[in-house]
């Protein structure tokens, strides 16, 4: 193959000075040598375009079906309800690109929510509660990471065990009662608006922005792709795979801690049933966002578009007073369709 694709006299275009910030993007520019190559290159971009198209279509449907859809108020409702799951999905995207999976995110949200709303913690006020939620999230993530990286237990099993354990612990601490938050400044996280936009939306924006920079512009992000793409090669290239794996789960846990603060403030109480099934929602968003479930390739922007697609569907159903069963069916079909498209793009005919 190499002979045929070699540029004449082998001196190729000097791309070093060119503006290709992301080397992967180079795949799409070249008229591919094989069907597989060009298809693969296109998938990343086309996929985001496809998601944007789906989102636009949903917005049209929403606007047609309900007069209340295309209002400033409703757009903010969609963004606000995307905020919590969006922050969780940022962490989940890192974990999945790094070759893992985190099934415990919903349970971590519950545990962090309950722990930061105990009477004792509320005595410390706003700062103490936020600190507590973040630390609980990060520590649970740390435990996940240590068991996976150093205990060599498969991520799926480790985090499913953590899902049960953390949820149980949350129930035990709260005695299955909801714990009303009496610290007003804490609750105001959800009610405050800056320039007419809820603070929760700013938090989501900040998480996505920081996450994007971390994933695409830093050595940490680069290593995440490498470890997810080929763990053995990463190890033999001198990367500290185990330490990096631990950090990925800490990051995911930390995102859950932030999400717990947001969700607790919204509901003005901590409860052990918060975050139920968030693991599935976040994984589904990551997958329809074009990230390979096996790791090594993925996009944070895609994940967030995935979150927005799901929240917009829910919003349209709510506005039109439709039952949730049809909504579930629609979600399921979207996930399936996305994965089928993804598979078509990713099985190159190996010439």
């Amino acid at each position: 193959m190499s002979q045929q694709t070699r540029p004449p006299d082998g001196s190729g275009p000097g791309t070093a000075a060119g503006g290709t910030d992301v080397p992967e993007a180079g795949t799409a520019r070249r008229s591919g040598a094989t069907a597989g190559r060009s298809a693969l290159g296109r998938v990343g971009k086309v996929r985001n375009l496809g998601l944007i198209a789906v989102l636009t279509l949903l917005c049209v449907i929403g606007a047609v079906s309900s007069d209340n859809f295309a209002t400033r108020q409703n757009i903010l409702v969609i963004l606000t309800s995307a905020a919590v799951i969006g922050v969780i999905t940022v962490g989940q995207t890192f974990v999945i690109i790094g070759g893992g999976i985190d099934l415990s995110v919903g349970a971590i949200v519950a545990l962090a929510s309950v722990w930061c709303t105990t009477v004792a913690t509320q005595d410390y006020g706003f700062g103490g509660m936020v600190f507590c939620a973040l630390v609980v999230g990060a520590v649970v993530g740390l435990v996940n990471g240590l068991v996976i990286a150093y205990g060599r237990v498969v991520a799926f099993i480790t985090t499913i065990a953590m899902m049960a354990t953390a949820r149980g612990l949350a129930e035990r601490i709260s005695d299955r009662q909801s714990q009303v938050v009496t610290v007003d400044s804490f609750n105001s996280i959800a009610s405050t608006r800056w320039l007419g936009v809820p603070v929760l939306v700013y938090i989501l924006a900040a998480a996505v922005l920081l996450g994007w920079v971390l994933l695409n512009r830093t050595t940490f992000g680069r290593r995440t792709f490498a470890i997810g793409g080929n763990q053995e090669a990463a190890r033999l290239a001198g990367l500290d795979v185990r330490r990096h794996t631990v950090l990925l789960y800490v990051l995911s846990g930390l995102c859950c801690g932030i999400a717990a603060v947001m969700l607790t403030a919204r509901t003005t109480s901590g409860a052990s049933n918060l975050g139920d099934l968030y693991e599935l929602d976040s994984i589904a968003s990551v997958i329809i966002g074009g990230t390979l479930l096996t790791g090594g390739r993925g996009s944070l922007v895609g994940s967030i578009l995935g979150v927005l697609v799901f929240t917009t569907i829910t919003n349209i159903f709510v506005l039109n007073n439709l039952t949730t069963d049809i909504q579930q069916i629609a979600k399921g079909l979207i996930i399936l369709a996305a994965v089928l498209i993804q598979r078509r793009g990713n099985t190159p005919s190996t010439a």
């Binding site: 193959m1 190499s2 002979q3 045929q4 694709t5 070699r6 540029p7 082998g10 001196s11 190729g12 275009p13 000097g14 791309t15 070093a16 000075a17 290709t20 910030d21 992301v22 080397p23 992967e24 993007a25 180079g26 795949t27 070249r30 008229s31 591919g32 040598a33 094989t34 069907a35 190559r37 060009s38 693969l40 290159g41 512009r217 830093t218 050595t219 940490f220 680069r222 290593r223 792709f225 490498a226 793409g229 080929n230 053995e232 090669a233 990463a234 190890r235 033999l236 290239a237 001198g238 990367l239 500290d240 090594g296 390739r297 005919s349 010439a351």
Partner: protein, 504 residues
């Protein structure tokens, strides 16, 4: 002569942007070993896939026993009696030997598999292949590469294959296992089965081949040459347009005692069951070769030096200070670099570009406070890629589109960029075609001349002897001889390597 078993004429296969096959002719007679020769990218793999029914040709004719056929699916090919044994053996590791042999055509009645019938039939096939000792109820994942290959062949026979295509079967085998493979092939052809044999090793083609067809750039450039008598220079010339085979760069002249600094000192290194009490040293600018059979511990020694395995005893010193055992990160920081045996699974990130592959071990150089400067990265990787004459010299290309030799260069470029001072090479020319090999040899020597120490493992004795300055011969985990390479010859080394194992 009656109609050949298989005849292909003017077969063309195009992929978007590439004409992988551009008029291939091939005829194979029953009972012969027909060798297919060509550089990587000459179209061998595509040709195999056309024969296996996995690709459809865009033009050309295929005749089976004189009658025109089409092979629209792998099942159709199988029905005619064409079986393919791919390089990456397509066996299910979790299933037993018998289950693998009958995968897809289980002996069943009313949907229930008939275990005992399948087992005895499988046993029969293994016996025919000269391997009655392979237990049919063993999981395939537990078998050696050689064992798996036998199972693949048994599967082919279970389909009553009359033409078996073997894609570089010897690449995964040790010396004695190759002998056994050849015996099996001889038995098969004696029964009238035809074998299409693909290999980079000319000496193998001489030993078992009847005729040779040479492909170059998707075309047949020579058809049905006698395998034993066609001069090597002719074959190489047909494949490459060049007239040389193994060319090793000259060793630098050296007078007086060697006073170059010692980079690596290995003392009393042991891992039970793998190797014992291995000691040696590598100086700056020196190429030290480790020769030995598969299982002699050579790759294990390399990986232990590199920290990928933890030694039970012994010490590794770099520049005189001990290296933290069992830590690759520490080894890389100390200036070591490994080009592992399995490039694709152990070294490369196949989803990424050449640049990202090359920069992986020196990201620190291109980053400030954790942020990667992609412009500097592209400039530096581009320079490394050009200095190694990697083709195409465009670092934004996906690494998976490179040929074997160029992928190896990408791995070497990674270590070049990380200012590696001791390069560990495990089978650097495996799966690399003849022309690109000479280039790699020159490159390795050039690195050594610039002061890099090289530790080389290869199962090809001429390669170790031709390239290394000093050679250690390993047998059953022990160093049995250490000498300057010019003082050894191939038969001596082979004797040393096989002595002992021949007795038991």
């Amino acid at each position: 002569m009656s109609a050949p078993l298989l005849e292909m004429k003017g077969v063309v296969k195009e992929f978007p942007g590439v004409r992988a096959l551009d008029g291939v002719d091939l005829d194979v007679a029953a009972g012969e070993v027909h060798c297919l020769l060509g550089q990587n990218g000459a179209g061998k793999s595509t040709l195999i896939k056309v024969l296996a029914g996995a690709h459809q040709p865009d033009a050309g004719h295929i005749a089976w026993e004189g009658e025109a056929v089409t092979l629209p699916t792998p099942t159709a090919a199988m029905r005619h009696g064409i079986a393919t044994i791919y390089q990456e053996l397509d066996l299910a590791d979790g299933l037993t030997v018998a289950e693998n042999i009958y995968l897809g055509h289980e002996q069943a009645r009313l949907g229930f598999t008939q275990r005992s019938r399948m087992h005895s039939a499988a046993r029969e096939l293994l016996k025919r292949l000269g391997h009655p000792e392979i237990p049919v109820s063993r999981e395939v994942g537990d078998l050696s590469a050689a064992g798996k290959q036998i199972v693949s062949m048994a599967r082919a026979l279970s389909h009553r294959a009359r033409l078996i295509i073997m894609d570089e079967p010897s690449a995964v085998l040790a010396h004695d296992e190759v002998d056994n493979l050849f015996r099996v092939i001889a038995d098969l052809t004696a029964d009238g089965v035809a074998v299409v044999y693909i290999s980079h090793r000319l000496e193998e083609i001489r030993r078992i081949g009847d005729r040779v067809t040479v492909l170059k750039d998707g075309r047949t450039v020579a058809r049905g040459l006698p395998a034993r008598t066609t001069p090597t220079s002719d074959l190489v010339a047909l494949m490459t347009g060049r007239t040389v085979e193994y060319v090793f760069p000259p060793r630098p002249e050296r007078a007086g005692p060697d006073e170059r600094p010692v980079l690596l000192e290995v003392a009393g290194l042991s891992r039970p069951g793998e190797f014992q009490d291995v000691s040696f040293s590598v100086r700056a600018g020196e190429i030290v070769g480790l020769a030995g059979l598969v299982g002699s511990g050579r790759s294990e020694v390399l990986e232990t030096v590199y920290g990928a395995r933890r030694p039970a005893a012994g010490q590794v010193r770099v520049d005189g200070s001990p290296l933290r055992p069992g830590s690759v990160t520490a080894a890389v920081r100390a200036g070591l670099g490994l080009a592992p045996e399995e490039r694709k699974s152990q070294a490369l990130f196949m989803l990424s570009s050449i640049a990202r592959n090359v920069s992986m071990s020196s990201l620190r150089r291109f980053s400030r406070a954790g942020f990667v400067d992609t412009r500097a990265e592209l400039a530096a990787t581009g320079e490394a890629v050009r200095s190694l004459d990697l083709r195409p010299p465009d670092p934004t290309r996906p690494v998976r589109t490179l040929s074997g030799g160029n992928q190896q260069k990408a791995v070497v470029a990674r270590w070049l960029l990380s200012d590696c001072r001791l390069l560990l090479l495990d089978e650097p020319t495996r799966g690399v075609d003849v022309g690109a090999r000479a280039e790699l040899y020159t490159l390795i020597r050039r690195l050594a001349d610039s002061g890099v120490g090289v530790l080389l493992v290869s199962s090809e004795v001429p390669e170790v002897l031709g390239l290394a300055d000093r050679v250690l011969v390993l047998r059953e985990g022990r160093v049995v001889r250490e000498a300057d390479a010019p003082d050894l010859d191939e038969s001596q080394v082979l004797d040393l390597v096989m002595e002992g194992s021949a007795e038991t």
